[in-house]
């Protein structure tokens, strides 16, 4: 049974000169969802967005919005609201004129323009700033204007290119929550581009991970985080350390033949100080604390194993602190193993029960 998607890309290819920017891009998005396009820079995520918007054209493939193939429909008639990376507010227009621009261009009657602009400014909480120019606003306020301007003409799809990149870290947190809330209030299908995994995981309903012009994985943030399916995603998501010698960790020998490469994340690790009770004494590996960093609720430790691999592990703030150079014992619950094509989790034999399994 084919699922009914609201926005769809089918077999999209795009080339810039000799550079293959996108290769066989296929995905579908359900109505009302907030999607994060995540990938390193140059991975093609912005190109996907610009092709959807009609700012670039693909060499092959179809773009479908609301059941209609929009390949040949000009950008302005696709019913898309676009928030640019640096907002691209009209510098020589007031906030009011910025938001009204799209409505004026679409020849809305004057009274409705005024009504709609005021409604939008109320929605984003910028009443009273109608007469300001963009240069007189803070970064966060500019983003709100860009958001109001994109939404004013009642688009069916909202696209945001790196919406938080131009904002300082402190306001960014707050704006993320604000934007997520705002989009769910308005109920509009939205896609945003980001290179910040934390941002994508926090804001998006669903994440599309791109790498070198291809889609690596599509899924809910929690699924992508827990079960990366490709080596790239396994490495890219989370605070991962690569493990050279998998057999080093006791408890994984049973699968060592199948594991070529593996990564390990801080949340898979438990660090025991000398003298602390150890749950599975046969499955711990010694290490030396190299560095520690206080992170608030947890303290982050860099721990060196006997083969020189450095792992990152956390301990809660109310446990006994570890000194640099201290000998510790590490227990790994899980590894993320991968070969050239796929990634899969491997459990420690102590936790896997009687029958060890390998996916």
């Amino acid at each position: 049974m084919e699922q009914q998607y609201y926005v769809e890309m089918r077999d999209i290819n795009k080339q810039f000169g000799d550079f293959q920017a996108l290769e066989q891009i296929n995905f579908g998005i359900e109505k009302g969802k907030l999607i994060g396009l995540l990938g390193p820079s140059g991975s093609g995520k912005t190109t996907i967005l610009r092709i959807l918007a009609g700012l670039e054209t693909a060499e092959t493939g179809d773009i479908i919005i609301n059941g209609q193939v929009v390949n040949d429909i000009p950008a302005s008639q696709r019913g898309i609201g676009f928030v640019f990376q640096n907002y691209a507010l009209f510098r020589y227009m007031t906030v009011f004129e910025n938001v009204a621009f799209g409505l004026r261009v679409q020849k809305w009657p004057k009274s409705r323009v005024k009504e709609r602009v005021n409604e939008m400014l109320r929605l984003v909480g910028l009443e009273g700033l109608e007469k300001r120019y963009p240069s007189q606003l803070s970064g966060g306020q500019r983003q709100r204007v860009a958001f109001a301007r994109a939404l004013a003409p009642e688009p069916q799809l909202l696209l945001l290119d790196e919406p938080f990149a131009a904002i300082d870290a402190k306001v960014r947190q707050e704006l993320r929550r604000w934007l997520k809330g705002m989009i769910s209030t308005v109920g509009i299908t939205s896609i945003f581009v980001t290179h910040d995994q934390e941002e994508a995981i926090e804001v998006a309903d669903e994440i599309i991970i791109t790498n070198q012009g291809r889609i690596e994985q599509i899924g809910k943030p929690v699924d992508i985080y827990r079960n990366p399916t490709t080596p790239f995603v396994a490495r890219f998501i989370g605070d991962s350390a690569e493990l050279e010698n998998v057999h080093l960790f006791p408890g994984f020998e049973y699968a060592a033949d199948q594991i070529k490469h593996a990564i390990i994340r801080p949340e898979y690790l438990t660090v025991y100080k000398k003298g602390e009770p150890v749950e599975y004494p046969n499955s711990v590996e010694p290490g030396v604390v190299v560095q520690s960093a206080f992170r608030g609720t947890v303290t982050e430790y860099q721990i060196r194993l006997s083969d020189g691999t450095i792992l990152t592990a956390n301990r809660l703030v109310d446990t006994a602190p570890l000194a640099e150079g201290e000998q510790v014992q590490i227990f790994a619950r899980r590894l993320l193993a991968f070969d050239e094509e796929r990634a899969f989790p491997v459990e420690n034999i102590c936790l896997a029960g009687v029958r060890p399994y390998v996916i």
Binding site: F82, L89, S135
Partner: protein, 273 residues
């Protein structure tokens, strides 16, 4: 952080520059004005209202206005093309725009004489159509356009490059047509530099001598612009007349200088707002 200034050196440098400016600029200006009024205001007025003088002034204004209008249009189009489109030969075009700045005006004049004059292959066709360019007003206008055409586009190009295409893209995405985008989004960016370019272009157009001199044929009352007319008077030992007309050009130059400063100030204020 304010740097400690060494007293004597500072005053020697300032004094030196002031003296240089005085000898090179102020003194000649005073001399122009005093010579113009040497034989009294009556003679000055007579020189300025002389039939040929008035015709020269009018021709200068005509040539200047034509050159400024055409170069404004051309300058905006050229700057737009160069900053907004990627195409083969873009470098060549932007280099060609600068050509008049490096080519001697006399050569510019000669180029037109060769292109449209009697020895040109085009000449028979132009004659058939009844168009005369060399030793006629169109030639003067052409020469003026040629020497002034880099001024406006050169002012606009850096501003358009700095402004980027984001705003235009945003406007286009909302469905605005090219005309609306230009007037409502792009034009406000270039408004002040465009006016500034127009002022510079005007100043240069009014004073152009070399290229115009070659093309004009020096027909008194027909193809003599102000600078040419001044030379004519000067060659005829009518110093009072020559300096009287010069004084008009000088006053226009000063007005333009003031306008330029005002525009620079307004433009800066507008960008900061």
């Amino acid at each position: 952080m304010k740097q400690k200034q060494s007293g004597p050196l500072k005053w020697v440098l300032i004094g030196g520059s002031a003296f240089f400016l005085f000898v090179m600029l102020i003194l000649p200006l005073i001399y122009v004005l005093s010579t113009a009024f040497r034989e009294g205001i009556q003679v000055y007025i007579e020189s300025v209202t002389d039939e040929y003088a008035v015709k020269a002034i009018l021709l200068t204004i005509r040539a200047t206005v034509s050159a400024v209008v055409i170069n404004t249009l051309f300058g905006v189009f050229a700057a737009w093309c160069i900053t907004r489109f990627q195409f083969r030969g873009k470098k060549i075009i932007s280099t060609l725009i600068d050509l008049p700045l490096t080519v001697s005006p006399i050569i510019a004049g000669l180029i037109y004489v060769l292109t449209f004059g009697r020895q040109s292959a085009l000449y028979p066709y132009l004659q058939k159509l009844g168009i005369s360019i060399i030793y006629a007003v169109p030639g003067i206008v052409l020469a003026t356009i040629f020497v002034t055409f880099p001024f406006i586009s050169r002012e606009i190009i850096p501003v358009l490059t700095a402004a980027g295409t984001d705003e235009e893209e945003a406007a286009a995405l909302m469905g605005a047509n090219g005309w609306t985008i230009f007037w409502r989004v792009t034009f406000p960016h270039i408004k002040w530099v465009l006016l500034y370019g127009v002022v510079l272009c005007t100043a240069r157009a009014m004073g152009e001598f070399g290229a115009v001199s070659v093309l004009s044929g020096h027909l008194r009352g027909k193809t003599n612009t102000m600078p040419l007319y001044i030379e004519l008077l000067y060659q005829g030992y009518d110093y009072t007349g020559a300096f009287a007309i010069s004084s008009i050009l000088v006053v226009m130059a000063i007005v333009i200088l003031i306008l330029r400063s005002v525009l620079e100030y307004l433009g800066k204020k507008d960008r900061e707002a």
